[in-house]
Symmetry: C2
Subunit: 348 residues, 2 copies
């Protein structure tokens, strides 16, 4: 009845043990098979909720629960503190995640969530792209070269024979430092090129938008010269009013949301009438042959973050920790042999 607590150092040990590529492959495979095995309505994902405040500084702490019926309950807690960088030299996002047993409510595992969230967001794009983009896609465009772009490129490089990546970011430093940030990925045959989107958008098979564009400031590129077969993974929209894609592209494309209820509130689907929204990731992955023609059409994966992705990823990491004996086993819950005596565990 112990809780496995996985520290940042334990995460590092797990990745060193199996390799970053293998971890990404495992999450892609497990998420795919979990979606296929998932029966409709088997996940319950309440709307996320949180505390917003402006004292002691601007901040938001959100909790994001999810359940796979009969399998497990998951809660991610995310803190956003946009001024943390200046004030404390800390990341603006700190995040942890917990897994609970539906047998008895026991806290099974606790770990960091930032790394896992980056991995799963990449894996989800890889899964959608594997069905919706041409298998020989070798040219990728990235708009927004921050943290998400690193794991998006990593995940897609595990599926496609990428040779060329075009980059754009409104921040020059972020655009130019991207190559140094992907060194650990050892994508040596990859040619990286920075420049205005209009200069390269006609040359790509897959596009990633992973910007932090402000509310109401989108889209982040113009609907000009897009290849007819382009597949777009739209990652950045995560708030009502925030969007990255031109409406004309969304209307022309088949748009696949990861989780429709959420995507219509905070994803690209905000712009679409219900009848113009395509099937969700569950439908796409469980009936892939139905969408084989989509590889020749314009398609969008509207990624807002689906709790199933988190549940799969925390389980993969937890199982690796168990397998390699990494992480601390802590008896957390006070358990008295007589449940009518809350003090009994003190003397047992």
């Amino acid at each position: 009845m112990k809780t496995t607590v996985i520290s940042a150092d334990d995460l590092r040990k797990i990745v060193h043990k199996i390799g970053l590529d293998q971890l990404m492959d495992m999450v892609i495979d497990r998420l795919t098979s979990s979606i296929i095995r998932l029966e409709n309505k088997q996940t319950i994902i309440p709307v996320r909720s949180g505390f917003k405040y402006s004292h002691p500084q601007l901040g938001l702490i959100e909790w994001m629960p999810g359940m796979i019926t009969g399998k497990g309950v998951y809660i991610k807690v995310v803190g956003y503190h946009p001024l943390s960088g200046q004030t404390y030299k800390l990341p603006t996002i700190l995040s942890t995640q917990s897994l609970y047993s539906v047998d008895d409510g026991h806290l099974v595992a606790l770990m960091d969530a930032s790394f896992a969230t980056a991995i799963r967001t990449g894996a989800a794009s890889a899964i959608a792209s594997r069905i919706l983009a041409k298998p020989d896609s070798n040219s990728l465009g990235i708009i927004g070269c921050g943290a998400q772009a690193v794991t998006q490129l990593h995940a897609l490089s595990r599926i496609f024979p990428l040779t060329q990546v075009f980059l754009f970011d409104t921040n020059d430093a972020t655009m130019h430092s991207f190559s140094s940030r992907i060194q650990a990925l050892k994508l040596d045959s990859l040619s990286l090129q920075s420049g205005q989107v209009a200069d390269w958008i006609d040359k790509i098979d897959i596009l990633i938008t992973a910007t932090s564009v402000d509310i109401g400031e989108g889209p982040v590129f113009a609907d000009q010269n897009l290849p007819a077969h382009i597949h777009i993974n739209a990652i950045g929209s995560d708030f009502p009013g925030k969007f990255e894609l031109p409406k004309s592209v969304l209307e022309r494309a088949i748009v696949f949301p990861d989780f429709t209820e959420q995507a219509i509130v905070e994803g690209e689907c905000q712009h679409l009438m219900p009848e113009n929204i395509g099937p969700d990731l569950y439908t796409l992955v469980s009936q892939p042959t139905k969408f084989s023609q989509a590889q020749h059409q314009t398609t969008v994966f509207d990624s807002t973050g689906w709790a199933l992705e988190d549940i799969v990823t925390i389980n993969v990491i937890y199982e690796l920790a168990e397998k390699y004996g990494i992480g601390r086993q802590i008896l957390l819950e006070s358990i008295s042999s007589d449940p009518r005596n809350p003090y009994q565990f003190l003397t047992e």
Copy 2:
């Protein structure tokens, strides 16, 4: 930037270090002073939410967040699995609690919550009773002799010169085992007597109802021969339709809810019109002299569990752990020196 993880064994060490009485006294004192210092509207406590399911067995996992503005965010996660006892020989309730910094979202501390919840529920009754019952109250009645009764008696024994306790439980074994369950409290001068409520209710100053009466099956005693000055701590109501007190007692008494919004949904206040509900615990504790006449009247503390009580208790335990160097310090969150690279911490 470490997280303090406090195991059940660490809790035991903390209690052995300072003593169970001193811990209860600390929680009573700190909760009192926290309420007094609390400005109105400074706590934000959303309605609790959770997952209910019947597979693999009947269960409920709830999360209960709370914030003291500018001070901290708290989340308790409680699992109720009524069949756990038979199936796994586990308690039906397993519970953990976490404290987050509002400076940066960091997970400050994680620990068991069952023990702390029992302590804080006792402390809240002690605080209400100290104002609403006569200071020389020496006779206590308990209806429902389970886990809550142990900490209720403990807390009240820290405030009142109790000499006589009358017990009733619909389960004979629970009633008769109560004396063995309070041995650790060393209340040697206390005389315990079991029997039908009607046989002793006219002899008591304070009454505790801490039953698990079923929905719609209340009240748990008849409105006959109650002393005019009786103070009642009603602990058991925690669900819509569940109540313990006769409506006539509630209508005659001044009823002080711990947290009005919750008490009108799941506490004794379900039975009252808004105009018949008295001031809340905050008002009672911050203006105690206003209620000095209440010691001669019939009063009810309608205790449903207020997140401030939890936040105070987790802070007391966390501070004791820090003071005595108890608990494990774990670097949980992955922090990359470049926030634009989620993989950087792997090589740092």
